[in-house]
Amino acid sequence: MTLLTVERIKLFSTRSPWWCMIIATALTVGLTSIFAATTKTTELTDLTPSATQFAYSFGLVVMMVMATLAVTTEYRFSTIRSTFLAVPTRTPALVAKAAVVVVLAGIVGEITAVASWGVATLIQPDAPLGLDTAQEYRNVFGVGLIYLLSALLALAVGLIVRQSAGAVVIELIYLLLLENLLPAIPRIGDHIQHWLPYTVGNNFIVAGQPETADGPPAIEGMPFGPWGSLVYYAAVCVGLFLVGLILAKRRDA
């Protein structure tokens, strides 16, 4: 419990987490309100709960950067050494850090998701935005869980790479390029795609939603259902975090 307090003090006594949280929320909610406001009356039926989350990955990337920086700035300014002096077994301090960062990312994720959906409802009250089915609930409230797990993934990369620029570049190239380009490989591309962690994680939000042009795209023929996808993504994130923990414990600080 004390270590959670420590990490909370550390996170909130610098400004960048605040900026990341504000930017993540503003970017996502802002884009959604423009989207909702510019939707033509004739296409109003396409403005579903899923469509209100079309911008969620913007905020997600920002929160992943925050999670990475929570670790890499400690290495950058050697405060990780002070941390390890205070908690020489290392693992409890890093787990506490992960807990604080991950929960915060989850909360911000829920806020952006609910705010995006709420803003769309306010702007277009006549759109079919009611949350009725389990799939529609996942479309909105599931976003926070993906934020939470992705923050753990980002933190793990930070722990392994220990360098802000390097870690962020790796994450962005992976998320934005590799996961989109690998499926383009002929014949095996589709099979690879079904196992790409972030694609599977995204499947938790979008699985089973009706075909719409907007919103995060759903991919056909995924190996898991929504909850299976979430477990798979969680396993990848936790696994990578464990690798980070082991490395942090072994390496000289």
Binding site: V6, I9, F77, T79, R81, L85, A86
Partner: protein, 348 residues
């Protein structure tokens, strides 16, 4: 009490610390002396469990650092003043450190008061001068009111006032019965600060002794004497029980004899009694710096002489008495250049 046993650290093929064993007693300031790159910081990091030793152990009051519960209450360390997030205030920095070891929050204000930073406690640490950052580092070390304190080069870059403050402060900590272990590459500074010395060079232990004994040995006086009948002179002097050493012809002039623990009067009178002609009779007294270079010379990783050009690097002779060599032989800044060269090997 800090005890190192066969402490060794290898980085690939480089051996930074080599089979180092020493003990640091409470109630005294113990200096950890060695040239730049000798392995002082690496040793300190191993004491604190930040680096894993390749071999050997180091214990604090009988336990490894990693085994300590709430270590900040037992061991305080200032390894580098800049281990602070530049955008975090001094108070926030101390607050999280305190919270991690369940140290009451009011202790934060106490240590800020002790080091005189109360006025700037809310300012971001990135804007601190080196002296202020150093004080913040000391505040961090004192946070848990620990019985063992480690300081790595605490006076580096400080103005005379800051140096004096830190020196007095360490004496006070030792007088309170704490174990104080301070590293430095300056013997002159350690002569004023430390009662005991652990001297290392190239990762090896050179001496563990009291500062007084080390300085007596280092600044031993000698007489240089030369004449046409060197062998007879040698016989006369050794006949009087004096320690005599042959100095071959070199930079300092022709071949001569070096008589330890003697005076020019004594040597001159002895020569006069037997009617020996002398061509040279001079007193030699090495400075602390020269003596230190002599003692650790063979153990310096990057020879200053190699950078300064030929003729300046004095080969180690294994004796604490330096030949009469101008201090200028080691140009200012060479040491810094050598330090930069060793920095490359530091794990960043």
């Amino acid at each position: 009490m800090i005890e190192a046993q066969g402490l060794t650290k290898r980085y690939g093929r480089t051996v930074a610390v080599n089979d180092l064993s020493f003990a640091v007693q409470p109630g005294k300031v113990t200096g950890f002396l060695g040239p730049n790159g000798a392995g002082k910081s690496t040793t300190m990091r191993m004491i604190l469990g930040l680096d894993n030793p390749s071999a050997g152990t180091v214990r604090i009051d009988g336990r490894r650092y990693a085994e300590l519960k709430q270590p900040l209450r037992q061991v305080g360390a200032l390894l580098e003043a800049k281990w602070v997030h530049p955008n975090r205030s001094a108070r926030s920095h101390l607050r999280w450190m305190a919270a991690s070891n369940r140290i009451p929050a009011k202790r934060v204000d106490e240590v800020l008061e002790i080091v005189g930073l109360t006025g700037v406690a809310g300012k971001r640490a990135g804007g601190f001068s080196l002296g202020m950052a150093q004080r913040l580092g000391i505040a961090t070390a004192l946070l848990g009111d620990p019985g063992v304190l480690l300081f790595d080069e605490p006076v580096n870059g400080l103005d005379p006032e800051g140096i004096l403050w830190i020196r007095r402060f360490m004496h006070r900590l030792a007088d309170e019965g704490r174990t104080v272990f301070v590293s430095s590459h300056l013997l002159s500074e350690m002569a004023l600060t430390a009662q005991e010395l652990v001297v290392i060079g190239r990762g090896r232990l050179i001496a563990q002794t009291s500062t007084r004994a080390f300085i007596d040995m280092a600044s031993e006086s000698a007489v240089r004497v030369r004449g046409p009948e060197m062998e007879r002179l040698h016989g006369v002097l050794t006949g009087q029980g004096l320690a005599v050493r042959d100095v071959p012809a070199g930079d300092d002039g022709p071949a001569a004899l070096l008589v330890s623990n003697s005076s020019t009067e004594q040597v001159g009178e002895l020569a006069g009694q037997v009617g020996l002609v002398l061509h040279e009779l001079s007193a030699q007294r090495g400075s602390l710096e020269q003596a230190f270079i002599q003692l650790t010379g063979g153990e310096v990783e990057y020879h200053a002489g190699a950078l300064a050009g030929p003729g300046n690097g004095s080969p180690p002779t294994g004796t604490p008495v330096a030949p009469a060599q101008p201090t200028a032989a080691l140009p200012r800044g060479t040491e810094a250049a050598a330090a930069d060269a060793t920095r490359g090997g530091d794990a960043r």
